[in-house]
């Protein structure tokens, strides 16, 4: 009887000197795995152009119908994205999103990526809808060159499927 009590206390004592598995959230943030699927980001190319071409394929793939894309035609003098088309509006309803990552799979330009940010809370439902401004990475965070196919001869060919990464 007594022996069992000491056995239990012994376990407690042992764990007192172990490294704890819990972290002091939110002061300490736990790193996530490489393939963790968190809040989306809309990526850019290294030169600052948006990758998103407004094709709506992410919206079509989304099983929760969380994405809204309203496309528009690029002004050739000041294009937003390479090619003829860009997303004039891009919205994701984070309350609907189930973080399946299908949008990321569907995207032909690797524009929409589920990143590692997981702190998603809102004061009202309205603010759960993230707009393009919220989702776009800053211009200096762009990466990847525009593939040569998109740059030739001042033409405005549209981006081919799954360019670079």
């Amino acid at each position: 009887m007594i022996g069992t009590i000491f056995k239990g206390l012994g376990t407690t004592l042992r764990y007192l000197f172990r490294k704890p598995v819990t972290v002091e959230y939110p002061e300490v943030k736990r790193p996530v795995r490489e393939r963790f699927r968190g809040r989306h980001q809309l990526k850019r190319f290294a030169n600052g152009m948006e990758r998103c071409i407004g094709c709506s394929l992410c919206a079509a793939a989304c099983p929760a119908d969380a994405i809204l894309v309203v496309p528009a035609e690029n002004d050739p003098a000041a294009p937003v994205s390479p090619g003829e088309r860009y997303a004039a509006r891009y919205e994701i309803n984070m309350l609907r999103c189930i973080f399946c990552g299908y949008c990321e799979d569907a995207c032909p330009t690797n524009a929409i990526v589920l990143e590692h940010q997981y702190e998603l809370s809102f004061y009202d439902r309205r603010s759960s809808i993230l707009t393009k401004e919220d989702l776009l990475v800053p211009p200096d965070k762009g990466h990847g060159e525009i593939p040569p196919i998109l740059q030739q001869l001042n033409r405005r060919p549209s981006p081919p499927a799954q360019i670079d990464l």
Binding site: I53, G54, I149, Q152, R155, P157, P159
Partner: protein
């Protein structure tokens, strides 16, 4: 045609001789993939996608008999030893076609690989993506990878404009020539062509202005890839995001079936819906690109009430209360006859019906019209209700054996789709006669063209009648049974010869005779008349009626008269009774209302959806003399600016209803979105006014013969219940009004929404595999094809009296040597054109003159001319047309044209002189 029996993939089918293999397979329910072939176009065999194995019985050259093999069956040989294109190979007896063998699959795969060698990887941004035959067939038949190097793809500059409306992406074009063939054969505007060759082979526009055709939008539908896209829909949305709503084009009497493709409640694009009875799979550009007005920011949002000089926003309750109070006041002190109503012939039947019910039964005023009362507006003489084309008419089936007279009409401008329908009839071997005082684009169709003097068209019709009588071409049996007054007619024409009548018309006698002969001998005869015929007047129309009667071309399907009366629902306006002659007591016409208003006999008016003040200063004056004016419209029109109360209504997208087209087909359109700014439909506005009046003690009367005055009594017993309840004006939805229309309006018995719905499948619908042909082309018709209501002549007991008479010649006047005619224009720049991509094509006011006349007058093209008639004068730019007859001047009836200032009637004698600019004159 004899039938041919063949075997396709083991299935035995029997088809008419001359059918090609692709169509034969379609009948058997087997889909052979195609790109260049289209069931509505002639096959050319350009793409080789339809390659199939064709086996024919081996023929012994000596005996010319099929060789019989040892098993007792004919020995089969592969035609030419290789695969054959199915779209250009006709079927023959005993043929065996195999569409799924390895050899065929291999060819299909190779063909797609070739087509894709230079195809861009545009699918994510391509407007065709999702309804693209190339995408779909590649998924079904194509290779998954290409052996060609990506870097070898040929690149063109991305979209180039073929015109203001259509963009061409040459990288995507597979050179199937569907667009070229549509323009050449179907539309009759051969403005597209090929340029260069080899890998730089491309489509170009040959016309100036580029792609000058009223049917250009259809090429984007039939293009099997995303090479042709419209400026209107470019990058608006992906096609799978659209919610197609069945609708009817509100722009002309054809009543094309369209689909309003909505995304949430925004209109993304307008597409045709298939209906062989009306528009096949086509629509014109006015219907396709002229719907942006529904989203115009200038739309009226709430009722306005006049306070002093300004119209200030008010609530519906205030506005309706004020209207009821004022209308009752006018009725008390000036009588019901001091009230009048004008409703636009573009409004749906439900609106028109309740509008006239409000007037006839609640306000008890017979003053109703759907005309604007402009001085040059011709009187509406309708033959549609009596001699209209028989129930079951389908122009898309007609060809050889059919004769059509197009009299005083410019279908291209008045009802564009009739151009395609008439060209189709001509292409299938039908006979076409065009009688018009000036050249129109329809003249390009193979046809007999008779060019009478303006105003003398009646003499051509009389010459035709005289020819019928002289050469004994009349349908004697029909005439004895159902026509009266034949002897009297012969008497009236006794003193005239064909030659003298032709002479009076200025028409060649031999052509007139051959036209009469062709029309009388044809199995089916149709007469189409339009705006110029109406301008010519009752003499012509009566003669046309007699022409149809004497030849017996009435009362049967595919026979009769099609009047093209301006307005999308003029037919409905006539049938619902929105015209002064509909009730027991004759009311005032629009023109009489203007006079009555100026003289103070007419005190209050309601004008619905119409803008009579536009370009007609006299109407403005009359409206200002009124005590009280209510205008109900979707825009603050010029007329609305004269109103005391302005009521906003929903556009065609925000409500449902029915329209009746020129061939008396009642068709239903659906509500595509919640009403803009919560505006009510027109019928509901009438209902609100009626309820307010009844609440203030007005007692409605029993129905005074709606429609043409025959309906009410005929169906009274059956509809007693409906009539009783409807006095309370408790229509909740448009369908309630439609039910009452069906119960009370003559001929409309079968037009409840329920029965209109019955014309859906299974009577109608595509075969399961037809997507291969129609993918992205047009929508299948899921709403039904509409119900054609019978004309009086369809009743085998109805008899008719011949009325034709020889009129006096149109008086000449030396002081005013020219004849001015208002020419209808589809692109008239009026309210519908707001925000449309067609705006640059709108016709601006001008005068069209003959080249020799212009030279004689010293007028250069584009120079200003001054015209004067007995009532006024105007200055406008001149356009020279060398084909216009001398002595005739055309003024397009468009926004801003000074027609009302000079016209004394539909035909006006005018003087023309070069305009000396005032600055020069004063110096």
């Amino acid at each position: 045609m004899p039938n041919v029996t063949l075997v396709i993939d083991g299935q035995t089918v029997t088809v008419p001789a001359g059918t090609n293999i692709v169509d034969a397979a379609r009948i058997a329910g087997i889909a052979i993939p195609v790109f260049c072939y289209h069931p509505k176009l002639k096959p050319v065999g350009m793409c080789r996608m339809c390659l199939v194995e064709v086996w024919t019985p081996k023929i012994d050259p000596a005996t010319r008999q099929a060789v019989i093999g040892e098993d007792g069956r004919p020995v089969m040989t592969l035609m030419m030893g290789k695969l054959q294109p199915g779209c250009v190979t006709s079927v023959s007896d005993g043929m065996e076609v195999r569409t799924t063998t390895d050899r065929v699959r291999f060819a299909q795969k190779g063909q797609l690989e070739f087509l894709l060698t230079s195809h861009p990887l545009d699918c994510p941004v391509c407007d065709k993506g999702g309804e693209c035959p190339l995408q779909n067939l590649t998924m079904q038949f194509g290779p998954s990878t290409s052996r060609f190097d990506y870097a070898d793809k040929i690149h063109f500059e991305k979209p180039i404009r073929l015109g203001d409306l259509i963009y061409l992406d040459r990288e995507r074009c597979i050179l199937c020539s569907r667009c070229v063939r549509f323009q050449d054969d179907i539309a009759g505007d051969p403005v597209l062509g090929f340029d260069n060759r080899g890998r730089t082979w491309e489509i170009i526009s040959k016309s100036d202005p580029p792609f000058d055709s009223k049917f250009s939008g259809n090429t984007t539908d039939i293009c099997p890839v995303g090479a042709l896209t419209t400026a209107d829909f470019r990058f608006k949305a992906r096609v799978w995001e659209l919610r197609p709503t069945p609708s009817i084009c509100p722009h002309c009497p054809v009543g094309c079936n369209i689909s309003l493709d909505m995304r949430y409640d925004r209109l993304m694009r307008v597409m045709p819906r298939e209906n062989d009875y009306v528009n096949e799979i086509w629509i014109c550009d006015k219907g396709r690109f002229g719907m942006r007005f529904i989203e115009s920011p200038e739309r009226l949002r709430q009722p306005l009430i006049r306070k002093g000089d300004t119209l200030t926003p008010a609530t519906w309750d205030e506005a309706i209360a004020l209207i009821a109070e004022k209308l009752i006041a006018i009725r008390t002190h000036a009588g019901a006859a001091a009230l009048g109503g004008l409703a636009s012939p573009d409004l749906p039947n439900e609106d028109l019906y309740l509008f006239q019910k409000l007037f006839r039964q609640v306000l008890r005023s017979p003053n109703l019209d759907f005309c604007t009362g402009a001085p040059g507006e011709p009187a509406i003489i309708d033959l549609g209700a009596t001699l209209g084309v028989g129930k079951g008419t389908n122009l898309s089936n007609l060809g050889a054996g059919t004769s059509v007279l197009v009299v005083g009409a410019d279908p291209e401008e008045e009802a564009p789709l009739y151009v395609l329908r008439l060209r189709g009839i001509a292409a299938r071997g039908g006979d076409l006669t065009i009688i018009n005082p000036y050249p129109t684009k329809l003249d390009r169709t193979p046809a007999r063209v008779i060019r009478p003097r303006a105003g003398a068209e009646a003499f051509v019709a009389l010459a035709l009648l005289k020819t019928l009588i002289e050469e004994e071409l009349i349908a004697a049996d029909f005439v004895t049974r159902r026509v009266q007054g034949f002897d009297e007619l012969k008497m009236r024409l006794r003193n005239h010869s064909v030659a003298s009548l032709c002479d009076a018309a200025g028409a060649p006698e031999d052509v007139v005779r051959s036209a009469a002969y062709a029309f009388a001998k044809a199995d089916n005869g149709i007469i189409i008349y339009g705006r110029v015929a109406l301008a010519s007047g009752a003499d012509l129309i009566d003669a046309l009626a007699d022409l149809a009667l004497l030849t017996g071309h009435v009362g049967r399907p595919n026979n009769g008269v099609i009047p093209l009366i301006p307005g999308a629902n003029a037919r409905g306006a006539l049938d619902m009774g929105v015209h002064p002659g509909a009730g027991k007591k004759r009311g005032l016409t629009a023109r009489e209302m203007w006079a009555a208003a100026r003289e103070g006999r007419l005190r209050g008016m309601i004008i619905a959806g119409m803008d009579p003040v536009r370009d007609n200063p006299a109407a403005a004056e009359a409206l200002d003399a009124l005590e009280f004016l209510v205008v109900q419209d979707i825009f603050l029109t010029e007329t609305a600016q004269h109103a005391d109360v302005v009521l906003p209504t929903a556009s065609i997208a925000g409500r449902e209803g029915t329209l009746t087209n020129a061939e008396r087909r009642v068709q239903r359109f659906r509500q595509a979105r919640i009403p803009e700014f919560n505006t009510p439909a027109g019928w509901d506005v009438a209902q609100r006014i009626a309820r307010a009046l009844i609440a203030l003690g007005v007692k409605p009367t029993a129905p005074d013969g709606q429609g043409d005055g025959r309906g009410a009594s005929r169906t009274l017993a059956k509809t007693a219940a409906t009539t009783a309840s409807s006095d309370q004006w408790d229509y909740a939805v448009a369908g309630d009004v439609a039910d009452e229309i069906a119960a009370t309006v003559h001929g409309y018995a079968d037009t409840t929404y329920e029965s209109l719905g019955l014309t859906r499948k299974p009577q109608w619908g595509r075969q399961p595999n037809e997507a291969i042909f129609y993918d992205g082309t047009s929508y299948e018709n899921t709403e039904g094809v509409g119900v054609q209501i019978a004309a009086e002549a369809d009743n085998p007991k109805a008899t008719f009296t011949l009325r034709a008479r020889v009129p006096p010649l149109f008086a000449t006047n030396d002081a005013y040597p020219y004849t001015l005619l208002a020419a209808p224009r589809a692109y008239d720049g009026r309210a519908w054109s707001r925000d449309s991509k067609l705006l640059p094509r709108m016709v601006t006011p001008h005068l069209i003159l003959n080249a020799d006349d212009a030279t004689a007058l010293g007028i250069a093209p584009g120079g200003l001319v001054q015209i004067a008639s007995e009532v006024g004068c105007a200055v406008l730019p001149a356009q020279i047309d060398r084909n216009l007859p001398r002595g005739l001047a055309l003024m397009p009836d468009v926004d801003g044209a000074p027609l009302s200032r000079v016209q004394t009637g539909p035909l006006t004698r005018i003087a023309i002189m070069a305009h000396i600019s005032e600055t020069v004159g004063t110096r």
